[in-house]
Each structure stands twice: as structure tokens, then as C-alpha cells.
């Protein structure tokens, strides 16, 4: 697919391609179009890539490709140079005729070849399943259709080859039913559907189309990547054509893959058509989505619990403590910390919380409400609690002296300064959208001289230099994320509660907004600039912080928390150089790290 794209991009160029080596690899190479108007009835999808195929011929073309594939894969090398020499004589824009000619040449040992040794089928399977190679559309389609009954029967051309092929299929089926299924109908099932509908002549009842979602899933991913590449190359027409294909493929999927494809396709469409970016949804809605995401997946709970453990350990022995939360939202992190402080040996400290939040559109004071609730809780469990809320549209607007009390840090009766902890859960990456903001904020944090700084960030690289890089990374990340939401949920004995479904839908929307931001926005709008743990480590080290190892207590607590989740075996808690990551199967998705100000504190601020 990738190769076709490069070639499609070079459309209109003058060099006729040398097809020898490509054919040997079983790839189809597009050539320049003779004339650029598309005849009506030409298949659109292929036309966008440079082939001209009449829609009515599609089935035949596909079938012939299949035969070609079979014939070539079973050929010995002696035939190939002959093919290479011959092909340039024909005008490949007429795909049908060209294939005909190829096949007629190869038909010399016809039937014997096609009575499949299972080797052929496996070779065909091999082609279709090694999707990692950017093989062209044709071979997978071909080998897939080789086993795909309906199209063959619908478009039976009176050729010897065809008949033996049908026979061979029948032979295949009893011998290898499993292989039949895995070698699926390709995505040109989409074109096959067109064919089926246009060829109303195929009035014989078509057997049910067996679509292997795995195969279409792979094709879907390819189509998404190809579309992204087209966008990067500013080839918007190809990208648009691919988007149509994507939406058809996505419909055949189910569950997480469909959702992911849907969100990415929507984001790509926004980017292509330069729709206005998603309106800055009001913070109330965003908070709501955020809290539903909190319910439906363990990521945020993991983040809160591990950060709290680090803060708790840093606060041992201090009688006055102060936590600065860079993104207070609903304050869900703090009840657990308050409870833990209330129960710590030696009694609870005097607790101050400074919560920072964005400005609310309706001027309601969400921060104060959260503060009030927390103070109620703290009072009931016997903690001396103080709260201060700060409204700031960006963290870079903060100054250290604002955050500490006017007279600086509090001191307890022995004159010991209060212990300060700075907590940031998925807030820092947004600063990367504006140059200089990150440095300023880290400088502010350092000026506070905190005992500990806890940083939780998404473990992904969505801030690469090129669009395609970011797109690919995001696709993998959000696929894992959606997969974990789907399968990590409660699918056990309790069944799917309606409420949980609602949470899931909201959580999906929350992630969908992130996807849209990563894919469709640019510049200062693109705030979801996730970076990997390695880069955060570098950044923090450069700003003068040194790492604090999250202890085994945090690890144990996180593991126990995950054990309570129904899909617990899919989630993995891992420790990496003192940082904890939570991931789905082999892919870490969120990382918690802790820092303190390093000894070389004489940085120029």
C-alpha cells in the first residue's frame, strides 16, 4: 500500500516503470495514466491510485490477480524474465486486458499448477498475512479472493483456469477448512460489494460473505496509515479516497478497533477539510468526561494511589504539610491521602491544599466547591485542613510567591518549615505547546523547594516532528487504550451494568477528544503533546531535579488495586528505574515518577 502511494504521488511522471523485479515480488506497479479524466463506471478507489478498472470488471480483475498470484508463486524462476520482458508491451491502464495476457502466457502448465499443493495455499496465506510488509493491495486481495467463493461464482468467466480453480477450491475446503477462514475476503470486499450490487446479474443466491475481521483489521490499519501519509504529503485527494475506504472497513469491525478507527477517521477528516477545531468545550463537560474516564479504567486511580504513596512517604515526620495540585478537577486524589494521613502513626499533620484550575465559563467557582467538600471530609476524620484555589488559564502564569502564603512557608511550633509537595497528573504535557512555558513552570516548581514532585504522564510519543510519526504512535497508543477499556472492564459474572456502559461511552468520548487534538490540531492548539518517560526524565534532570524511587509500597498497592479489576490479568504494573508504569499487556500506557530538587540548586532562574 505504501509503495502504491509513493507511486501515486508521482503520478503524471514520465518514466514507464520497469516491472520485472516488482513482478517477481508479486507487487503490482502502477503506471502513468493515459488521460486523466475518470470514465464513469471506473472504480473510484483504484482510480485514485492510478489504475483504471471498470467497476463491472472488478470481479474478473480480482480473480485474475488471484490466478496470477498462484501461477507465479508456483512458477520456477525461468518464467519470470519472460514475463518481465513481455509486460511492457501492454498498456497497463487497461488492467483487464493486461492480466488476460499475462495469464494466457502462464497458462501453459495450467491445471496442474492450480490443483493446490497446500503449499500454494499457504504461500497465498503467507502473502495475505504478512501485512507487515507494505505489500501492494493486489496480492492480499488476490489470495484472499482465491478462497472467496461468492465473487468467483458471481463472475465466472469461461476459462479453463477458472474452472479448475473452483475445483481446487472445493478440494481445498474439506482439506483445510481452517485456512479457508483465515485467508479472508479482502477489503476489496468493499469493491466486491459494489460489484455484487452492480452486477445484478449475479442473481444466483450468493452464499454469505465470510469476512475475517482480522484481515480487515490489518487492512484498516494500513488504510489509516496510508491516509495519514497522504495528508503529510498534502495529497488530499488520495487521503480523502482512503477515508471512504476506512469508513467502510471500520464498519466491518467490532468493538475497540471500530471505535479507534472511527475517531481517527473523524480526526483525519477534520484535518483534511480544515474544519474548525473542536470548540473549546466548556470545562464542566470536560470535567464530566474526565470523571467518567476515572470510573471506567484503572489508569487514574493507579496514578492517584502511587502519587499519594510517594507524597505520604515524603511527608513522614512533618507536622505541617502543603500540597500544590496543578490540576485539581474534582479532587478525587485527595480523600485517600487525607485518610492515610489521618491514620499515620504519630497522628495527622496540619494539611494545606492549593488547587489550581482553569477559568470556568460561567464564573462558577468550581475550585471552592471542591475545597469545601474536601474540608468537610477532613473535618470528619479529624484533620486540620486549609484550602486555597487558584484560577489560571495556563500553569505558566503562576509565580512561586503566589502559591506560598504571603509570608512564605508556614512553620510549626519548632520552627520547622512545612513540607511542600507538587503534584501534576497529566498537566505538564500541555505546556509543550508554547515555547518557554515548560521551563518557566519547572523554574517555579524549583523555587518552591518542594520535598517531592510527583509527575504522572501518558507514556507515549505524540510530539514527534512529523505528522505521520505522531499519527502512527497515536494509533498504537489509543488502540491499546481502547482495548484495555473494552476488555479490562467488568465482563465477568456481573454482566455489563448499564451504568458501566454509560461510563464507557463517556470515557470513549474523552479519549476521542484527545485523538482529535493530536491528529487535527497544530501549533498552540495541539495541547496533547504526550512524551515518553525517558524524555520526561531528561527534562526534569535538565531542570535540576533528581529522581526519587517509588518504593515497594507503591508497587504493592498498585498491584493490589489492579488485582481488583475484573480484567486484571491484562493490566501490568511495571517498575522502571524507580518509576511505575501501568500498561495493557506489553504496552505501558501511563507512568508515575517522583522527583526532588537536586543538590546543584544554583541554577539561574
Amino acid at each position: 500500500m505504501k509503495r502504491e502511494h509513493e507511486d501515486a504521488g508521482r503520478m503524471g511522471g514520465d518514466d514507464p516503470m520497469n516491472m520485472g523485479p516488482e513482478i517477481a515480488k508479486g507487487k503490482m506497479v502502477p503506471v502513468m495514466r493515459t488521460g486523466d479524466e475518470m470514465e464513469c463506471g471506473v472504480d473510484e478507489l483504484l482510480a485514485a491510485l492510478g489504475y483504471k478498472v471498470r467497476a463491472s470488471d472488478m470481479a474478473d480483475v480480482a480473480q485474475k490477480l488471484a490466478q496470477l498470484e498462484v501461477a507465479m508463486s508456483s512458477d520456477d524462476a525461468s518464467h519470470l524474465p519472460q514475463i518481465a520482458a513481455d509486460t511492457v508491451h501492454y498498456d497497463p491502464s487497461d488492467l483487464y486486458a493486461w492480466l488476460d495476457s499475462m495469464l494466457s502466457e502462464l497458462n501453459a502448465p495450467p491445471c496442474a499448477q492450480l490443483l493446490p499443493p497446500t503449499a500454494t495455499a499457504s504461500r497465498g496465506n503467507g502473502h495475505s498475512s504478512t501485512a507487515a510488509k507494505p505489500s501492494a493491495a493486489a496480492p492480499p486481495r488476490a489470495s484472499a479472493l482465491h478462497d472467496f467463493k461468492p465473487v468467483v461464482s458471481a463472475a465466472s468467466v469461461g476459462r479453463v483456469v477458472c474452472d479448475t480453480e473452483q475445483q481446487s477450491e472445493k478440494i481445498l475446503s474439506p482439506r483445510d477448512p481452517k485456512r479457508m477462514r483465515t485467508c479472508s475476503s479482502s477489503s476489496s470486499s468493499s469493491s466486491a460489494k459494489e460489484v455484487a450490487s452492480s452486477l445484478k446479474s449475479a442473481t444466483e443466491a450468493l452464499p454469505v460473505v465470510v469476512v475475517d475481521t482480522q484481515e480487515t483489521g490489518v487492512r484498516l490499519v494500513h488504510a489509516l496509515l496510508a491516509s495519514a501519509e497522504a495528508v503529510q504529503q498534502e495529497n488530499l485527494k488520495a487521503a480523502d479516497a482512503l477515508l471512504k475506504q476506512i469508513s467502510m472497513l471500520a464498519a466491518s469491525q467490532s468493538g475497540p478497533m471500530r471505535k479507534v478507527a472511527g475517531y481517527f477517521a473523524e480526526a483525519l477528516a477534520r484535518r483534511i477539510y480544515r474544519h474548525s477545531p473542536l470548540p473549546q468545550a466548556d470545562r464542566v463537560a470536560l470535567d464530566l468526561l474526565h470523571s467518567h474516564f476515572y470510573e471506567s479504567a484503572p489508569y487514574l486511580k493507579f496514578a492517584h494511589f502511587t502519587a499519594n504513596q510517594a507524597i505520604l512517604e515524603a511527608f513522614t515526620g512533618f507536622r505541617q504539610v502543603h500540597v500544590i495540585d496543578f490540576g485539581l478537577k474534582q479532587g478525587m486524589q485527595w480523600p485517600a491521602l487525607l485518610q492515610a494521613l489521618a491514620l499515620r502513626p504519630g497522628g495527622p499533620p496540619s494539611f494545606r491544599l492549593t488547587g489550581i484550575g482553569p477559568p470556568q465559563p460561567d464564573n462558577s467557582d468550581a475550585l471552592q466547591e471542591v475545597g469545601w467538600k474536601l474540608s468537610m471530609l477532613a473535618e470528619s476524620i479529624g484533620i486540620d485542613f486549609h484550602f486555597r484555589g487558584f484560577v489560571a488559564s495556563s500553569l505558566a502564569d503562576l509565580e512561586p510567591q503566589m502559591l506560598l502564603e504571603p509570608e512564605g512557608k508556614r512553620r510549626d511550633r519548632d520552627g520547622v518549615e512545612e513540607a511542600v509537595a507538587v503534584n501534576s497528573v497529566m498537566e505538564l504535557h500541555q505546556l509543550l505547546a508554547r515555547p518557554g512555558a515548560m521551563e518557566k513552570v519547572l523554574g517555579t516548581v524549583r523555587a518552591l523547594r518542594p520535598r517531592i514532585v510527583t509527575v504522572v504522564e501518558e507514556e507515549a510519543n505524540h510530539n514527534g516532528r512529523t505528522f505521520l510519526e505522531r499519527f502512527t504512535e497515536a494509533l498504537h497508543y489509543y488502540s491499546s487504550m481502547f482495548d484495555s477499556l473494552e476488555n479490562g472492564g467488568d465482563s465477568g459474572a456481573d454482566g455489563e451494568l448499564e451504568e458501566q456502559q454509560r461510563h464507557r461511552a463517556m470515557a470513549d468520548a474523552y479519549l476521542g477528544r484527545q485523538i482529535c487534538n493530536v491528529v487535527a490540531s497544530e501549533g498552540t492548539d495541539r495541547t496533547e503533546r504526550h512524551e515518553t518517560l525517558g524524555r520526561w526524565r531528561g527534562r526534569m534532570a535538565q531542570a535540576g531535579f533528581e529522581p526519587v524511587h517509588l518504593g515497594s509500597n507503591a508497587f504493592k498497592q498498585a498491584s493490589m488495586l489492579l488485582a481488583l479489576y475484573a480484567g486484571g490479568d491484562g493490566f501490568r504494573v511495571e517498575e522502571a528505574e524507580g518509576c511505575l508504569t501501568l500498561g495493557w499487556h506489553t504496552r505501558p500506557l501511563i507512568a508515575t515518577s517522583a522527583w526532588r530538587v537536586g543538590p546543584a540548586a544554583d541554577f539561574a532562574l
Binding site: Y294, E295, S296, P298, K301, F305, N308, G331, M332, P335, A336, L338, Q339, A340, A342, L343, P345, G347, E369, W372, K373, L374, M376, L377, S380, I381, G382, G489, D490, G492, A493, D494, L497, E499, Q500, H503, K556, Q557, S559, M560, L561, A563, L564, Y565, A566, G568, D569
Partner: protein, 164 residues
Amino acid sequence: MRRPEEEEEEERSSPGWRRIPINDNADLLAEILGRLDGRSLAVAGCVCRLWNALARREAVWEVVCYRHVASAGASAAAGGTRSVVAALGGYRRLYRLCIGPALDRLAGVRRRQGPAAAARHVSLSLALSLFSIDCYERLGGGGGRQQQPPPTSLLFLGKPVDVS
């Protein structure tokens, strides 16, 4: 086969045997009920008014909770813990919302994946953390200005065991 009355006669006459009507001694009964697991205790609360009153005693549930959690130095911090838990809603509620569902979930895991896979106990600190989050969610906001959505942070544990 001796008839039951004959059996009783024999038993009563043997030395060292005494009948203790547990229903007369509430503390004794509470002591006994405290050795049940959560579900059985809830069932026991359906027997009669006396048993119902005892099955609602916080002290009984405290014993039940501690039996099912692994916590280091439980006895040392017990005093402080008691007041905190009481403030957050009580041991019975703690069991109902956090410990019970967690135990069920772990038992399910054990069933599915074999005994080695599941943690043996629920940790008290974890249970209390979750409990505190739930309590926080239940707090009304701003004088009940808006309809408070039902607390949902514990939904991931599945439907709570109803021991009320």
C-alpha cells in the same frame, strides 16, 4: 437407635455439661456472630430482632473486617482507625462497599486462574482509600444545589454485597 429424648437425658446427666442459652447473653452472641463471614452475618441478621440488632453492631463488623484484611500493626492503630472509619461511614458500610466486593472479586480470580494468582487478602489501606473516595463522593456539593449523581468510584468492584 435410641430415641432423641433418651439421648438428651443422658447428656443432661453427664457431668460438666451445661446448656447456655445464647439468646440471653447478647455479648456472647455478638462474639459468636463475629466469627461469621459477611454474607452469613447478614443472613443471621434476618433471624430475629435480637440477632438483627447484634448484626448491626459496629463492633461485630469490625471484627469481621479485620479478619478479612491483611494489615500490619492492626492492633496498634486500632483506636485511631476506629474513629476514622466511623467518620467515613462505619465498618458495616466498609465491608459492604469495599471489602466484601473485593473479596468476591478475588475469589472469582482465584476460581478462574487458580489459587496462586489471586492475592490472599484485601489490604486495609487500599480498602480504606477506596472507602474514603466513596465517602467523598457522597458528600453533597454546595448545599445540594444540583442533583448529586450517585457515587460511582466503586462500580469497578461490581455490585456491592447488600448486607443491610
